[in-house]
């Protein structure tokens, strides 16, 4: 377990080193939000109904940004061999990287998401629920994203490949997450949709470490 903690701290340090990647992701999310009124028209009548959905779409896209470097930089400079020879199994390495991705990028994005949603016309009292749903959803994004990043190891244009592999897997959390907010806006209980979102996260958390570790082993061979 000590190796896991050491790795988690190092991943967080790497995510924040060299230009504050997480802040860039948050900036990207806000830029997407700013572009939408320019594309769809700035009338609240048009924007308010899609505010939650647009914020979720921006969240999903911003979550993709830093995935490319998650395994690739360790693969290029030989650190992945070292990670494979430590005490924790490769499954734990993938888990640690996914957790670090969530802590470093997912949580800051979850705090930014309600800013985007409210700016587009979502009711401000939904902001706490938006943070909760986004935190849960970005955890799912981190797990499926880490799996996609491991699968793309060794391919040129890894970033594009990750986006194509991972975005379809991002559909369920986007549906459940924005669905929860829509139901809450309509006066219904959001908890069913949130429970489905949590179920997706659990599924991803169980599957991603094994699939990711298998992909890493394949890339090392």
């Amino acid at each position: 377990m000590r190796g896991f903690g050491v790795l988690l701290r190092r991943e967080l340090a790497l995510a924040w080193s060299g230009g504050g990647g997480p802040l860039l992701a948050c900036g990207f999310l806000l830029c997407l939000t700013a572009v939408l009124p320019l594309a769809a028209g700035s009338e609240p009548r048009v924007l308010a109904p899609v505010a939650s959905g647009a914020a979720w779409l921006a969240l999903a896209l911003a979550s993709l940004l830093s995935l490319e470097r998650l395994f690739e930089r360790d693969w290029e400079d030989g650190a992945l061999d070292l990670l494979a020879l430590g005490e924790p199994p490769l499954e734990a390495v993938v888990l640690a990287k996914a957790m670090a991705q969530w802590l470093a990028v997912g949580l800051p994005l979850s705090v930014t998401a309600p800013v985007a949603a409210v700016a587009l016309g979502q009711a401000p009292e939904l902001a706490p629920l938006t943070v909760l749903a986004a935190a849960l959803g970005s955890l799912g994004f981190a797990f499926t994203g880490a799996m996609g990043a491991a699968l793309a190891l060794g391919s040129r244009r890894g970033g594009l490949l990750i986006a194509v592999v991972v975005l379809p897997l991002f559909i369920p959390p986007v549906v459940f997450g924005s669905g929860a907010l829509e139901r809450a806006a309509g006066g219904q209980s959001p908890w069913q949709a949130l429970a489905l979102l949590a179920a997706y996260v659990l599924f991803a958390a169980v599957l991603a470490p094994f699939a990711g570790a298998a992909a890493v082993r394949n890339a090392q061979g």
Binding site: A13, L14, L82
Partner: protein, 188 residues
């Protein structure tokens, strides 16, 4: 510690070697030689368990370190942070790291970014995790090539001490190791 019998390895379509057998026991050093592309690195990676063999068996009975030509250090981070991460991840404690830093005289380098180190200094930094996290088997890929004469001799002493303590070394080399070692030529 290593028993390789009748090993066949290939990379892509190309067969590197077939029928290779090799045994390395405690206190022994084996130097792998051979032309570029003869399969020295692939053999080391197969022993480490990264490459699946086409045939034959690889049996490794002791924990191992693999020091390849890529050391896994991140250029933009301070040497101290990188050394501490790698050594601790491999199981070292603070005392082990401190004594390795002392032995390899790394102290003046630790506050520099890794990218500011010369190739030889980087290699010494990588050797520190071999010393800080003791494991009996060392797999080394051209371990001494970037080092000057003085440090080649010094790391020769480090390797001798490792062997004297019951360790074993399998090293891919072009120049002879500064310690008594059995030679195995690949592709001969």
């Amino acid at each position: 510690m290593i028993r390789v019998s009748d090993l066949a390895l290939s990379r892509g379509e190309r067969v590197l070697f077939r029928g290779l057998s090799l045994a390395v026991g405690a206190g022994e050093a084996v130097a792998l030689t051979g032309a570029n592309g003869a399969g020295k690195t692939s053999l080391l990676r197969a022993v480490a368990g990264f490459i699946r063999a086409d045939g034959g068996e690889v049996e490794v009975t002791a924990p191992l370190h693999l020091l390849g030509h890529l050391d896994g250090f991140k250029g933009g981070r301070p040497a101290r942070a990188e050394l501490e991460f790698q050594a601790k991840y491999l199981g070292a404690d603070d005392a082990g790291i401190a004594s390795a830093v002392e032995r390899l005289r790394l102290k003046p380098l630790l506050d520099l970014e890794v990218r500011k180190l010369s190739a030889g200094q980087r290699r010494r930094l990588a050797f520190a995790w071999l010393l800080a996290a003791p494991r009996p088997l060392w797999l080394l890929d051209e371990p001494l090539s970037p080092l000057d004469a003085r440090w080649r001799a010094e790391l020769g002493r480090v390797m001798s001490e490792h062997l004297a303590g019951g360790g074993a070394i399998l090293a891919a080399v072009h120049d002879p190791l500064p310690i008594p070692a059995r030679l195995l030529e690949l592709g001969a």
